[in-house]
């Protein structure tokens, strides 16, 4: 171990000792670390499913995303094609290589050119699945993985996200609980992105401009699924 490491840790320990404040035992600290408990969760993060969906939708829209609700996952390709047309975007999309999205009937939209895999510099629009939607601030939670490359969330100018109603939770803490269920306590995918609206900057005279480096448009397809109310 490096000398700097010991140097810094010793200095930290000396200062803590000097403060004379009582400290918890390593066992108590380990317990806190290994059994994470949510703290104060705002009321607005504790709604029932219908309330969550409405709150998610209203925040997402207020924060400059667009959102449409679909009755069935099978309607996704059609909704994507409609969106591209409506926004006058090139008829090309890059899909996250996940069966749930790739496996849809994209041939039904014969005018849209389909690519798969990680994002390339010239990609204009991506379609990716969300891991969760968080109602309290209209936030999407996206995980990296072999079927969900992170570049798709940032490189294309337009980002279309497929979110199932049953994935919409109330609070950040609830989303974390799901993450721990899927990945195991203390284990993480390489990248977790919380995304709230499209990219923006206020660096020119404090006026907000969308599309600074990440997507200029964020379009959410909120799909009714079995657990839907």
């Amino acid at each position: 171990m490096s000398a700097s490491r010991e140097h810094v840790l010793n200095a930290v320990r000396a200062s803590i000792r000097q403060s004379g404040k009582p400290t918890l035992s390593p066992e108590q600290l380990t317990e806190r670390l290994e059994r994470p408990r949510p703290g104060l969760v705002p009321q607005r993060g504790q709604l029932d499913l219908a309330g969550r969906l409405d709150l998610f939708e209203s925040w997402a829209k207020a924060l400059s995303a667009t959102l449409v609700r679909l009755d069935d996952l099978a309607h996704v390709p059609r909704a994507v094609a409609d969106y591209l047309r409506q926004e006058n975007l090139p008829a090309q999309v890059r899909l996250a290589p996940t069966p749930e999205i790739e496996g849809l009937d994209w041939q039904s939209q014969s005018l849209v050119e389909i690519a798969r895999g990680r994002a390339q510099i010239d990609d204009t629009t991506s379609v990716t699945p969300a891991f969760a939607g968080i109602a309290e601030t209209g936030t999407l939670m996206m995980l990296s993985g072999p079927q969900t490359p992170t570049t798709l969330n940032f490189v294309p100018e337009n980002h279309i996200v497929v979110l199932k109603a049953s994935q919409v939770v109330g609070s950040y803490e609830e989303a974390l609980a799901h993450l721990r269920q899927v990945h195991g306590q203390g284990r993480m995918p390489r990248t977790v992105n919380y995304i709230t609206g499209p990219s923006r900057t206020a660096d020119i005279e404090q006026t907000i401009q969308l599309g600074a480096h990440g997507p200029r448009r964020l379009h959410i397809l909120l799909v009714k699924d079995s657990a839907d109310a």
């Binding site: 200062s15 600290l29 104060l40 390489r190 900057t201």
Partner: protein
């Protein structure tokens, strides 16, 4: 960066006469304050969340050694590397080593105050690397060869016209007749230019707002998405951060994040909050192949447990700066180093020494607005007072300050007498200045009245009003 904090007085004079700066500062005064207020009002639990955020950090700092070791273990387990750096120099050298080992030519950078603190860019450039700032504000000031003037809005001192001139000069290969009058045109141009750079980069450097002991993750918060492109496209991701950034669990990080964006920009949540843990996994289609964390101390361990320990709770939201009347008047560069405003006045002398930065804690009107908006409830005015007292004891102050302070100390130890004397002075000033409501000149206060009128006191001292409000059980605002 090279500090000019010792020249604070001269810096102030320059700032007050800089028309571009004064125009730019007008935007700070308007925007941030209202937006923060509205965001806080939208969330009934906001005040309770501030308490919780403070408590989480206090708990972590009281057991910082434990959490740092736990964090390091997790980073290593997931294939990343932690490099400890006691000093700025160690941190810089380590980063240059990593870049060399990766045979890097182009290095992209997300916004990092620690990188500013250790003057990273200059060293990377000296080492022959092509360094590209990717945050729009940082990119602008990199072109201008200027330091940031605000911790969350580094180019807040620059006007649109100035940015246009810089872009025309540095993007010389673009058609000269192009339109650049509107903010969106400037943003688009920067987007196009930087896009190429993200894909060329060999190493991406970001800061971290939090480190999570539970998982070994580093967290960044941005609105532009530049920090993400910076870390997922190159083959090496370096995180430059400092020891007080660690929190125990993911839940703790999210709990503090609830007050961060609201305090900073008045947003419900920043556009992008990103948790990065180790290098890409074997099957992943993208992401960096190597993940390094530089963990900097640079004086922070010495602050623990002392008079300035509370400052280590700071989450760099900038609210104290946005609400500071002194900052509103002089901007960030006058403070002479990386951290401006109230948080800088407390932090800078801790990090670069009171000999250099001893004037900064005087840059306060003690109005208390900074503390009242600080999400982490850091007692900034109290700590500025600590510095003033130390400064006084060290006899570094000019004579007049020493005289004034000893007079103040005389009264401060005799609160009754102080109340009586200030009450007298107030009534006297109120009587004399009643006619137009302002003093154009005040003896001993030329530094103030040269640039602004001093409002006539309204008859009662702050302490008297405070006492009255306390009796009514009302919170001073």
């Amino acid at each position: 960066m090279e500090s000019t904090a010792h020249a604070f007085k001269d810096n102030v004079t320059t700032a007050l006469h800089d028309a571009n700066l004064q125009q730019a500062l007008g935007k700070v005064r308007q925007g941030f304050i209202v937006k923060r207020r509205e965001a806080a009002d939208r969330l009934p639990e906001f005040e309770a969340l501030r308490d919780q955020a403070r408590d989480i950090k206090n708990h972590t700092l009281a057991h910082l050694d434990f959490y740092l070791e736990a964090y390091e273990k997790k980073v290593t387990e997931q294939g990343g590397q932690v490099h400890w750096a006691a000093t700025a120099e160690e941190a810089r050298d380590k980063i240059v080593d990593i870049c060399r080992a990766a045979d890097a030519k182009v290095v992209t950078k997300g916004k990092s105050m620690i990188a500013e603190e250790i003057a990273l860019n200059a060293h990377l450039e000296e080492a022959g690397l092509d360094v590209v700032e990717t945050d729009l504000g940082e990119y602008i000031i990199q072109l201008r060869h200027e330091p940031p003037s605000h911790i969350i809005a580094p180019a807040v001192h620059v006007t649109k016209k100035q940015v246009e001139a810089d872009f025309r000069q540095y993007h010389a290969d673009l058609p000269p007749e192009r339109h650049l009058d509107e903010p969106w045109e400037l943003v688009n141009e920067a987007r196009q230019v930087l896009r190429q750079r993200y894909f060329q980069a060999d190493v991406g450097i970001t800061g971290a707002n939090f480190l999570v002991a539970e998982t070994g993750s580093s967290i960044i918060v941005t609105n532009e998405g530049n920090g993400d492109l910076t870390q997922i496209l190159p083959k090496v991701h370096i995180v430059i951060t400092s020891i007080e950034k660690v929190v125990p669990n993911l839940d703790d990080a999210m709990a503090i994040l609830r007050v961060l964006a609201r305090s900073a920009t008045g947003q419900e949540f920043s556009t992008y909050t990103t948790l990065s843990t180790g290098p890409k996994r074997a099957e992943d289609l993208d992401g960096p192949e190597a993940y390094h964390v530089i963990l900097l101390d640079n004086g922070r361990s010495g602050m623990l447990g002392g008079d300035f320990a509370d400052m280590l709770r700071c989450i760099r939201c900038g609210a104290c700066i946005n609400h500071c009347p002194v900052y509103h008047a002089v901007g960030g560069h006058a403070y002479g180093w990386v951290y401006p405003g109230p948080m800088g006045s407390v932090l800078t002398p801790n990090l670069i020494g009171v000999e250099e930065a001893g004037h900064l804690p005087n840059a306060s009107t003690f109005c208390g607005r900074c503390e009242s908006v600080c999400p982490m409830r850091i007692p900034l005015p109290k700590m500025m007072r600590h510095w003033r007292e130390r400064e006084f004891e060290r006899h570094l102050s000019p004579k007049a300050v020493r005289w004034g302070l000893s007079l103040w100390a005389f009264f401060a130890r005799r609160p009754r007498l102080y109340g009586w004397a200030t009450g007298m002075a107030m009534s006297l000033m109120a009587a004399v200045g009643r006619k137009n409501g302002f003093f154009e000149r005040l003896p001993l206060a030329g530094g103030w009245t040269d640039h602004r009128a001093f409002p006539t006191p309204q008859g009662r001292t702050f302490r008297a009003q405070w006492a009255a409000r306390q009796r009514q059980g009302e919170e001073p605002s």
